[in-house]
Amino acid sequence: MTYYEADRRLQGRCKNSRRLENNTYLERRGENAIAVRFHATDVLTFRKDGSWTASTGGWNTVTTRDRLSRYSPPGYSFGSDASQYGQGMVVYRHSPRMWTPLCILEGTVTFAADGSLKGGGDIEEAREDRRKERNQVARERYQERFWLLAARRVQRGGKVPRKPLTLEMIQAEANVSTRTAMIRIYGLERYLVAVKAESIDTVGEYSLLTYPLEDSPSWGRERVLRALKMTCPSTGTCYIHPVDPSCRSVSEALDWIFQTPGYLNRLQAEA
């Protein structure tokens, strides 16, 4: 839509305002401007001199985008491309090439009659910000999986990572796969010696370990850590599985882990 098209539609009894569609009105703004109002926001304002303004009023929604694209002058579209430019609304021009991104619609963007624009966020900056954000996510994901990947590399004969690995880091790790990978790199024997672990019960491959806890709150219990050493029957990987400190035997520990009484006697198959 242009100013003159809008002006043609504002005639007769609708000379000041005309409903375009749901919550959307074409309204005069003084003598030289006509606006497309969506709810309470003038999303588009056309001026007699050929310039026009686009604004979301902070409402970056699907419907705002739809109204902007539908009523903007020919050759312009409003869209979003989160993978390239993040969450902002992108202004596209379709000449000389289709879908040429012009700017990010932040606040208000004014297009002069000659096609030059004023305002809006820089498209290259948005692309760069998005690239940095993606890299940051990838870095965090890599950090999260660092020890898992390192353990796999070591298993295949690769080098042990140089990143320092301490007992505190292992004990603070909440994810069992990551913790097991860390123990594998640290060395199971070294780990058990370092925590001064003692076995208090053994049944087959299972062993209930106990070791003193120095820095943790007691929670009204003994200041010891009890953990069940389990070996995966499929991979042979050894897991150190912290259990409730009230567990006194392997059987009690297994019942507690799986919340199922009589685990050892009832076990039919495991993998």
């Binding site: 999986r145 898992l148 069992v176 499929s234 259990v243 409730d244 799986f258 685990y263 009832r266 495991e270």
Partner: protein, 117 residues
């Protein structure tokens, strides 16, 4: 009686239908993935056999959304094979199973928590 089947950090415990029919708020889970690892991305999934997985949900007092409570049941209609990238496959015979997920003790919080892998 030997009836428990363990597959990594999951334990399949046979239960009676009458026990489950009393449970309210069961919602069918689409797909055949029983559990997926948070970091590894590995999953316990049913590769053979016809099964229905249901999870217990409760209404959130804040948002009113139905949130899973972590209790899951699996009805095995025909013998099913459960596989995982790190474990050997196990076969489950037809019946109704409660899927127990291993827990561990968090000595910092002083509480048991679900094992994450």
């Amino acid at each position: 009686m030997k009836d428990l089947i363990r597959h990594g950090d999951l334990l399949f415990v046979p239960v009676k239908k009458t026990q489950v029919s009393e449970v309210e708020g069961l919602r069918e889970v689409s797909g055949k993935v029983i559990e997926r690892g948070e970091v590894t991305g590995h999953a316990h999934r049913v590769t053979e056999g016809d099964v229905t997985i249901e999870e217990h949900v409760r209404k959130s007092w804040q948002s009113g959304d139905m949130l899973p409570t972590g209790i899951r049941y699996m009805t095995v209609h025909t013998p099913a094979t459960v596989t995982h990238e790190e474990h050997k496959p196990v076969t489950l015979l037809p019946g109704l199973y409660e899927i127990m997920r291993a827990r561990e003790f968090d000595y910092t919080a002083g509480l048991g928590r679900r094992v994450m892998d």
